[in-house]
Symmetry: C2
DNA sequence: TTGACATAATTAGCCAGCTAACTATAATGT
DNA sequence: ACATTATAGTTAGCTGGCTAATTATGTCAA
């Protein structure tokens, strides 16, 4: 994933704002900072997972399965929850099944459907990765107070609302 | 890019925290919310750019060039600023050059190097896209006060510091 | 000066996303 | 009952990232 490493200076931002009157300088700066930190996190996560021979997409699938009480879901539900197509999910599951981390079981009631189950090997893989992952997460958030964490979440909620106001029909 | 659409419930988070004592529940929740909003933004940005026949990687290159006073840079500097490899940059520039948005000019002093220049067509493309982009950005941040925007940026700064504390040598 | 190393860009080949088309099965309306 | 439509999963083929190797040029120290 592309990682924004170079944020514009205040001077550059103002030059852009002069050419484009629609610009809201603090909105742009906040947006860019948000993208930068998120891409940094994603890149760091990739690096952490690669030590355990995992790729991010496959790892998120394992997490989603572990969230289920019966450790089971279906390809289309998993794809929906990760925001990827079912076709892509087929590929992720092929890889995971080949490594023995999940298994496909035919569904009893709907013969079109397949149940995906986290295997014991898959659970063991998660048990190996999660402590490392959670320790790193704790580390990178430890500079924030509880109230800052709450502030962050509510601010992000407002932004997410704002995104859904974008209208692509025109 | 993968888009996290499904955040864990408080109950699920606590179940994970019970299995993995390293878990810091509010750190995890904040992290996941941050990733979700950032991926939502990136997906929305893709949708906005596709209306103008642009892809995100190529668009960031145009932005970086416009930030320079002489509208010029080199492939390796651009790659560094976007956090991608020079090989990938070669491909982005091939596409941009083919569309006439940038041009390669051989560098005077170092014959290994190439200068990349934003063309007038490229500038015109930016002039078409930026007002739309900035308007959307203003829209999605308009629910935040100036102080919330400052809070956001300083909180993100703390997190970014925390990431660099991850040590992958062990 | 020249041998060793460093740097700029590209090329070749791999992998994970995507869309579109396909198969099989289920649900629905007349 | 059965034709139509919808849904679950897969396959095929495309694209844009990646790494590793290649070519050309520059730098530096013996």
């Amino acid at each position: 994933m592309l990682q924004l490493r170079d944020l514009p200076t205040q001077e550059v931002l103002e030059r852009f704002a002069q050419r484009y009157p629609e610009a809201d300088v603090t909105a742009i700066a906040s947006f860019l900072m948000l993208l930068r930190v998120a891409t940094d996190l994603s890149v760091a996560l990739d690096a952490c997972l690669s030590k355990h021979d995992l790729l991010q997409g496959r790892w998120w699938v394992l997490i989603l399965l572990m969230r289920e009480v019966d450790l089971t879901s279906t390809p289309s539900v998993l794809a929906e929850k990760l925001g990827i197509t079912r076709a892509t999910m087929t590929g992720l599951l092929d890889g995971l099944e080949q490594s023995g981390l999940v298994q496909r079981v035919s569904a009893p009631h709907d013969r079109r459907s397949v149940q995906i189950k986290l295997t014991e090997v898959g659970q063991a893989k998660l048990d190996a990765v999660m402590p490392d992952y959670y320790t790193r997460l704790r580390l990178c958030m430890q500079g924030l107070s509880e109230s800052q964490r709450n502030d962050l979440q509510s601010i992000l909620g407002v932004i997410d609302q704002g995104i859904s106001a974008w209208d692509f029909n025109q």
